[in-house]
Subunit: 418 residues, 2 copies
Amino acid sequence: MNIAEYMLQIGKNARDAATILGRSNTQVKNAALAAIADELEAHQPELLAANAQDLAQGKANGLESAMLDRLTLNEKGIAGMIEGLRQVIALPDPIGCISDLHYRPAGFQVGKMRVPLGVVGIIYEARPNVTIDAASLCLKSGNATILRGGSEAIQSNQAIAKCIAAGLEKAGLPATAVQVIETTDRAAVGELIRMSKYVDVIIPRGGKSLIERISQEARVPVIKHLDGICHVYIDDKADLNKALQVAYNAKTQRYGTCNTMETLLVAKGIAAQILPILAEKYHATGVELRGCAETLKILPNITAANAADWDTEYLAPILSIKIVENIDEAIAHIRTHSSQHTESIITEDWDRGMRFLQEVDSSSVMVNASTRLADGFEYGLGAEIGISTDKFHARGPVGLEGLTSQKFIVLGNGHIRQ
Amino acid sequence: MNIAEYMLQIGKNARDAATILGRSNTQVKNAALAAIADELEAHQPELLAANAQDLAQGKANGLESAMLDRLTLNEKGIAGMIEGLRQVIALPDPIGCISDLHYRPAGFQVGKMRVPLGVVGIIYEARPNVTIDAASLCLKSGNATILRGGSEAIQSNQAIAKCIAAGLEKAGLPATAVQVIETTDRAAVGELIRMSKYVDVIIPRGGKSLIERISQEARVPVIKHLDGICHVYIDDKADLNKALQVAYNAKTQRYGTCNTMETLLVAKGIAAQILPILAEKYHATGVELRGCAETLKILPNITAANAADWDTEYLAPILSIKIVENIDEAIAHIRTHSSQHTESIITEDWDRGMRFLQEVDSSSVMVNASTRLADGFEYGLGAEIGISTDKFHARGPVGLEGLTSQKFIVLGNGHIRQ
């Protein structure tokens, strides 16, 4: 197989399909989503068999158990994909929405119409359910999709791809509206992220090294986040109960997620009061604490944090703690060490809450709330294709709207420029 | 001078200044804009003297007269820059605006706050007034700016830079909020467009080859348009008067602008009726016509268009004309040859007007209006830093809002994730 030629064809197919999808109405897109759900239901045995092949191959290749877990597709997983499709059907269709339509003094109207981005490339790792999640959001938002899953999941993804293609065709849409790359050759990724003529945006989902490499090499815009080094700052005017609740939840509700707190900043004035109670809660849950020199004076039994700790996304039951003089030092620390994902202040002081909201430059900034709430579902976007820590285009949790653009429309009656 | 070190320092200065600008309120930013206007007024003699130096150098270097025109800064030009600053002062400040703030079922509030992008790099050619235009829009939107003008305008730009720096300092803002690169070494541009740590977006303004090179080499997002190959399609259900008015205006109101019509598409059913009248109007104004074979049957005295004409942005009194069967062929032609800048349909047919709006994938799509209206001022944005033909981030005329981003804010009361 000539990878460059193969990918060029994929790109051309996607561009052609995007034109058709872009003018398909909500009813047609929803019919396709429903037909895909039916196909998944009808072909459950084939999906399970394909996944069993991947799992057998994975075990033979010595994949670690966490990876095999992510790769596993069981009946519950298939039901979850079907449920996900139903949820996307229920979401409002952003395409075609006209906003800000108003008359200009000269008598013509100007407004904006929401349109698809065009072709979305998704690069992800082992989880086969991403194939359905990503395809359904792109389809609903009128975009053609090119999917490149991890090579470990190749059989599962091909089986899912067959269901998607059949569903699309039943609804009268081209099967090429969602294409799953059939080769595991890495050169295909290299082509995909450079086809700026045929691909409008790349969304990588997976580990940091994958995302870093793709952003470095891409010639197409990328929606991404690399790190989630999230901070909670407990101000000395914090309500003690809220502080305990939020600081505990932000670290322990789940360890491996990007919106989990990795560093706790505590104002000097409240540290001696709150840290012993918090430490006990963390200790009971098995969280390892690493503290700055001041923290060690209050919690003498914990490990000393080193310089690298402040820049580390643990994704594990480890928390670094730093005592700061005040909100200024907290914001300065965040400016230096944050990955601009999510930060939260715990305070009852109005002015400090407002300052934190204004001055902290992260994709989500919170007052008296857990960083774990930074999520498309929690925010009510209905779905999430990823979280962006960039400022360009979409920022924070990215739902359907992040997969769209707006064009200007002008409605005249023979209007000309004077 | 070590260019890499010099640019690194410029980048660091800009990032630091962006932090201060980002939290400066409207009053402070407007005071700086007013102080810059005062400085320009007070230092008019120095500005004219610096410009005279550039002009003398330009003449000695044999610059062509159009270039010398663009380079010239006279009293009227300075008055125009001052007027521009006053207009930017009058614009509403987008920064800090909170939208969509609403309660989630769990009881916390989620919304979006508009924030600056951070650091904006502007790369432009000879016109010295761009220095003030660009700096004022970036300043108002809370962004630090790095400006790199054409080497022909180096003395003028340095003189303007002094006024800007003095004005910023009078308002208590860092002079580094707007930095004009002092070297004409091209390596400085190479550094600027790769400093993704210090620069958030690049806006190139100038000829196609400059913009093409910058987009190719940049490692920072670029807001750009390469071409303006704009189309007007006269449908057979067009009102004859509106069609004549719009088609004439779209071509002749100004020739050298990106929103000027370059190709006129005419439905077969109306061609014999309208083309002779139109040809006479164009002829009287000195517009050269190039037609497809069908057009030549109606206008036998014009030149035959060749394949390249359909893909050419003339920026000159030349127009290519093609007769098409119907709206389908018009849209297909636009899909193949348009630069996705601006297209307009002239029709009295409701369904065709709606189809054109929905199916044409350009940054501005119009019904019964001249493509020349695609402009930030005509649209009421109050200002324009450029026009984007990309779909990512900003599309169409880019005003203050295109220089901003939105972050999510969450207002809780001790809320945690369940």
